[in-house]
Each structure stands twice: as C-alpha cells, then as structure tokens.
Symmetry: C2
Amino acid sequence: MKTYIEQNKDRFLSELFDLLRIPSVSADPKFKGDMRRCAEAVKESILKAGADLAEIHETPGHPVVYGEKIIDPALPTVLIYGHYDVQPADPYELWETPPFEPTIRNERIYARGSCDDKGQFYMHIKALETMVATGSLTCNVKIMIEGEEEVGSDHLGTFVRENKEKLKADVILISDTSIIANDVPSIEVGLRGLTYLEVEVTGANRDLHSGVYGGAVANPINVLCEMIASMKDENNHITIPGFYDKVQELSAEERSLMNEAPFDLDEYKRDLAIDELEGETGYTTIERTGIRPTLDVNGIWGGYTGEGAKTVLPSKAYAKISMRLVPDQNNDEILDIFTKHFLSIAPPSVKVVVKPHHGGLPYVTPVDSVEYKAAELAMKEAWGGKQPVPTRGGGSIPIVALFEQELGVKSILMGFGLDIDALHSPNESYGLFNFYKGIETIPLFFKYYTELKK
Amino acid sequence: MKTYIEQNKDRFLSELFDLLRIPSVSADPKFKGDMRRCAEAVKESILKAGADLAEIHETPGHPVVYGEKIIDPALPTVLIYGHYDVQPADPYELWETPPFEPTIRNERIYARGSCDDKGQFYMHIKALETMVATGSLTCNVKIMIEGEEEVGSDHLGTFVRENKEKLKADVILISDTSIIANDVPSIEVGLRGLTYLEVEVTGANRDLHSGVYGGAVANPINVLCEMIASMKDENNHITIPGFYDKVQELSAEERSLMNEAPFDLDEYKRDLAIDELEGETGYTTIERTGIRPTLDVNGIWGGYTGEGAKTVLPSKAYAKISMRLVPDQNNDEILDIFTKHFLSIAPPSVKVVVKPHHGGLPYVTPVDSVEYKAAELAMKEAWGGKQPVPTRGGGSIPIVALFEQELGVKSILMGFGLDIDALHSPNESYGLFNFYKGIETIPLFFKYYTELKK
C-alpha cells in the first residue's frame, strides 16, 4: 500500500486542493451554493475511490453525503465520519495567501479547511481508494460526511435517527483532532461538550447622546461587561450556581498520568506570543483544556465601532458566549442554568434575551476497548513502534455523543492535526507529513480492527 | 422683525433643507467631499444674509467658515459659533426616512443635523438676514462655523490662536444645546468636559480555537469586560484613583435649586421605554447628567460578530470609552490617570494599548453676568414674559472652554433643542417651533446685550 500511496501522492494532493478551493462556509447563507457544490464533489470522490454507492441526502440545512463499500456482511463495518463545511475565513486581511486558494509553504498546506476537516476526512477517501486498488480492504466501510459540523450539526441528529439501519456499524472512525507532535503520536480519548448561545442586552429604546443621558440611563455595554465579568471569580472559577455540580473530578493518579504527556510551556507561550497563561487556579494547562469546563466570549459588539469617535450611549449590546463542558455535564442543563442565572443577574435598568445556538455532550473512549486498541496498534506501526499517548482534547464534536446514543457504537478519534494548524483562525494549515501519514495509518486501523474482532 | 420672519419662513426652511441634504459627516473620510461642499454652502449663506465678508479657512482637517458684519467698531461685537459637521447616521436601517433627505412629520424636521447643529446655527444666519433686512442690527457680528465639532474640534484651537484679532469679540453666542420644554425656556450655564479614548486588549497573536485553547489562554474579550466592570463599584461610583479629586461638590442650596427645574420621571422613562434608571447612588437624574462625571463605553467589538456561531478565542478586543467631566476636572489629567489605571489593572496574560481620541474642559457661565442677563431678557420676551431657567447640560462643547482661555470672553449657550430631538441617534429631529422661535429670539439677545453694555 505504501508504494501505491507514494506513486499517487501528487494526485491525492491536487484532488484535495480542488476540494479546498470550494468556500464551503456553513455559517453564512451567502455560501449556500458552494456548500451544494462541495457536497457533489465529495460524493464524486467517494465513488472514484471505489465505493459501491455514494448519495447526497437533503436536510432542512446543508446536505449529508453518504457512501459505502460492503465486501462481506459477515465482516465488521467501520463508519467514517467527517464534515465538508468549514469555519468562516474572516478576518480575510490576516491571511498571507487567500483562504480558498490552497498554497504550500514549508511543507504545509495553507487553506481554510486544510486540516478542519477537509484535509482529514479526505485522507479516509484516499485510504479507501488505496485499500480497494491494492485489494487489501479487510472489512466493510461506510462514509458519512456532513455539512453542518461548524454550526452545531443541527440536522445530522435527525438524519442519524432516520437512517439507523443504513448507518449500522461496529465502530465509528473520525479524524478531526490532533496529535501531540509529529514524533509523538496520540489518540484523543475525550472531547469536551459545548453550549453556545448569544445574549442581547437592551437599555433605552434608541441610541442616545452620551452627554445628555450619560450617567442617568443604563449603558447596555457597561452592563453586559459587568454581567460577563461577574460570571468568573478571581480564580477564574465560573460562578454560575450549579455549573460544576456534575463535573467529574479525576483521581490524583489520573491527573498525574495526564500530565505526563509531553508539553513545553515555553514553546506554547512563544507560539502564541504571550507572557503569561491565564486559567482556572489549581489546574495545569493540559487539565484546563482537557478535564475542566470553560466560559468564553467568542464575540462581542455594541455601540459605535466605526472610524473615529461617536459619543453615543447605545441602545443594545450583544455577545456570543460558549461553554466547553466535561463529563458528566449536560449541555441542555447548562444552557438552562446559564439562562436562569444570566436573567437573574440582569439589573432592572435593562432587558435581556438569551438565544441558544447549539450544543453537545462531552465524550470519553475507554482505553481498554477493542476500538482503542486497534487505533493504538495502527499508529504504533505507522510511527515505527512508537506507542501513542491517550489525550483529552479540549474541542467538541457534539455529534460523537449522539452516535453512541443512537447507533450504540463507540467513536475513535484518530486525528492527525497539530496545535499549530491554526484551526478556526487565519492561515489555517495542515502538514503534508500529517496528510500522508494519515492515509498510511487508516488502512492499518482497518486491518487491526478486523483481526481484533475475530 | 416678526413680520419679516413670518413672510420668509418657507424660504428659510427650504434653505435649511438644502444644507441638511449634504451628508457632512466629519468622522468618516469618505464624506470629505461633502464636507467641502457644505462649507461652501455655509459661506454663501452668510454672504446672502448680508455679511461684509465670508471666507473659508483651510485646516489640516475640515475647513472653518468665517464671516462678519461690522457696522461700527465702537459698538460691541457678538461672535456666533456653530458647526456644520454632523454625527455618522448609522445605523441607517433605523431611520424612518433617509437621514440626508429632510422630511417634515408632525411639525418636526427629521434629518441628521436638523438640530445638531445645522438647524441651530442656521437660525443665526437667518436672524442676521432679518436684522440686516429690517435695519435693526444693533451691534457687530462675527460668525465662525467649524467642521470638526463631532470629532473633537482638533484644529479649531489652532485656528482660534492664529486669528485672535479677527475673532476679537465681547461675547460668544452658541446655539447647540436644549431648552427644558417648548413652554419652559432655559439656558445652559454649564457643560461637561470630555475625555474620549479607545482601548485595545491583545491576548494570543492570532485567533484560536476556543476548544483547543479555551480555559488556558486569556480571552481578551473576557479580560476587557472585567477591566471595564472593575472601573465602577456597586454604587456606580467610578473607581479610578483620583478621578473625583477635582470634582466641585455643590452646596445643598445649589443642588435643591437645580432640582426645582421641571422634570417628569415617568415621562422620561416612558420616552426611553425603560423600567428603571441607573446612575450614581445619592444623586438625582438632573444631578447625574448635570454636575457628576461619568464613564461610558460608546462602542465595543471583538471576536466573531457575524451570522451564526464561531467557536473562536479571539486575539483582540476593542472599546471606545468616554468620560464626561465636571468643574474642575481637567480632560488631560483624566486621560492620564485613566491610562495609568487601565494599564495597571491589565493582567499579565494580555497586552493593552490606550489611544486618546479627543477631549475638552468643562465650562460654567455665571448667572449674574451681563451676557447671561441679555440671554435671559431675550428669552423672557420671546416667551411672552416667562423667566428662563438656568440648567447644567450634560453634553460637551470642548471648544467653549478654549474660547475663554484664548479669547478671554464668555460664551452664552442659548440653544433651542429638546431632549426628544434624538441627537446622535437615528431619526434626529428639530421642531419647527424651535427653529422659528430661535430666529425670533436671537435678535432680541443682540438688542439687550447692546443696551446692557452701554
């Protein structure tokens, strides 16, 4: 198989580039046509890889692409999940090269979606092609690539519920996460959940002159700032009543094991150009992003934000706020207690609205499971005998918990990205090493998984 | 004179409309051409009114229009000040009729600048025309209309310093303020000063994935909110060290006198559609806007503010912040202590920049001065014997304090607007009653001022 990959590596890359050129931004309605184009392209690529069928399923939002190759119903079935939608690329001006014109610089692919998740799910399609072409496919494959992951997978839940038979599988394999370093393979065994919402604070019914009314009428921006500030204490502990009630506290052993994962604090700070980290007192950076919940403002706006000065006392202020959740927090419960709390701390001088965006449950994969062992063996072989490290990722793939509920199978998060990939940021990139290493590792997972299931 | 005004009222209005149609927004460079056009139009209108000369003076920013009519050097000279620039009109979508297409609805002129300040300074030009046409001009008139009042009059100071001889006058008359109600004439004897600045808070060197980094790296929006919130205590008292050091505390008598001014709290709240006011504990609304300093965020932005959700941990957050000042606070000192304080409360996890925009000193006119008496008599006569009330306005006309420093003369703030005029807001308007009442009152000020100076 390595030979086949070697012989076709340039074509694999140029095919990925074609996919990256499609601005499939799910959050912004003006890219609706591109989303459709992208779904068609994904479907075609699955067929070309040698699948028996590939089809586009409509949803009330963006379509889901499904494909499969069933070689023997008696054999195990691996369901591949990925997403063809990407984050908005703005601010565009910060991109060194256009976000939708993939460019190679120092062995890396620069483009929106290069890693998250086009570059990663496309590895599976090329891995399938490789296994089919070299007659080394050891079990059945199903592929589901959705178009709404970046906006909360609103309609995938329904699709999964309505297609349980079609999606029946023994394990779900997902590449939408990172490894610690190119010489330190790792597998994510935990994902944080998410509650994402938007708040609106309204003072007077119109923008006012800050001289005539300033000091006497509530300023919704000041009020919003005070409300946001009040939700964390001096230890960066979230003050929403009940927020931590269901948080699993790990044992000292578990925590020290976690902290054995390689982590270079100086390199981390240098990469981000920050002097000091900031997080919850009493936890390490690995713990803060792995096993602790958070509350971050993802966006804020209100009043005059144009050129120069405007002495306005605005009528409204807004913020997009998200909370990362850990086992056993429930995103619906957290949305509920956040909303109650936010309304309760609003002063009588303003009106407040909390608008839910989306959310998902946290997730954990047992390291003693067959699924995990197969991934461990695959990576170990691909990395020349180096044992992969189990890690707790800070990100969220809300759909993973839903898969377990609806399909009753575990997901393996075998991603190949790196922290430096700048996901969701300008100049997102994905290493060529990682792209090809993924294509090489995935067939090994199939092989070991089939063996272990015997 | 009343007859002349009556006979020409329609023309006066249509001339004002032509002026209001010019989008003279000084804050936004894209209106530079319109600013120039507006200055030319103002110059022409001064000549048409019967001035001996009218000229445009260039500045590094927008031009100043100057005109004069000297009937006898032995007589007193009144210097009229106003501004032809207006606030930005956005958000445009909230205007019932286009901001730069003046429209009459229920006896009011709706347009950006209808009151602030085109509608008000144009009263003086029509008053001059009236006095000249009816041979009733009792003293010399000088007119200075600038184009940078809404952006801090950056270059008027230099212009004034360089033209002291030309601008030599006995009193400065300004209509850029309000009366309490159409049946309650009033004169502003106090203006608040202003310190306006912009802050930038930077966390990491790029936008980050809020899942991968959230909880471990400072979020500049959360930090900015905490910094802003920390600058007021639970009594809405500003916590910046030294902020109140130079604030004049009024005597119990002065305060009770102030609070005798008619004020309908229910009507005030109904007009703004708010349930509760919010302000510094221990002071009435009239005091909060008249004799107490404030700190308001005029604009805030950072992170993702587009459609939908983006789980980004942003690199930067910004806010435009202004403080209204009262005697004897000094805007430069306040800028200085704000900056020191803001930098001192920034956590080591972020970098902070404070960028000054503009400012001005607070101002007070003695009610026992000849200037004030003349205004008082003029209004009293125009309002059929009703005595005008002295008030402390919350707004700022930074240049007024500078006039006193540089020209050594007092300014009279005889404005004719109303609180409902929605200055700086969508649907700014100015009452026809107020426009014509101003044109009627101004000549009376000239008459009484000349008499009292004899």
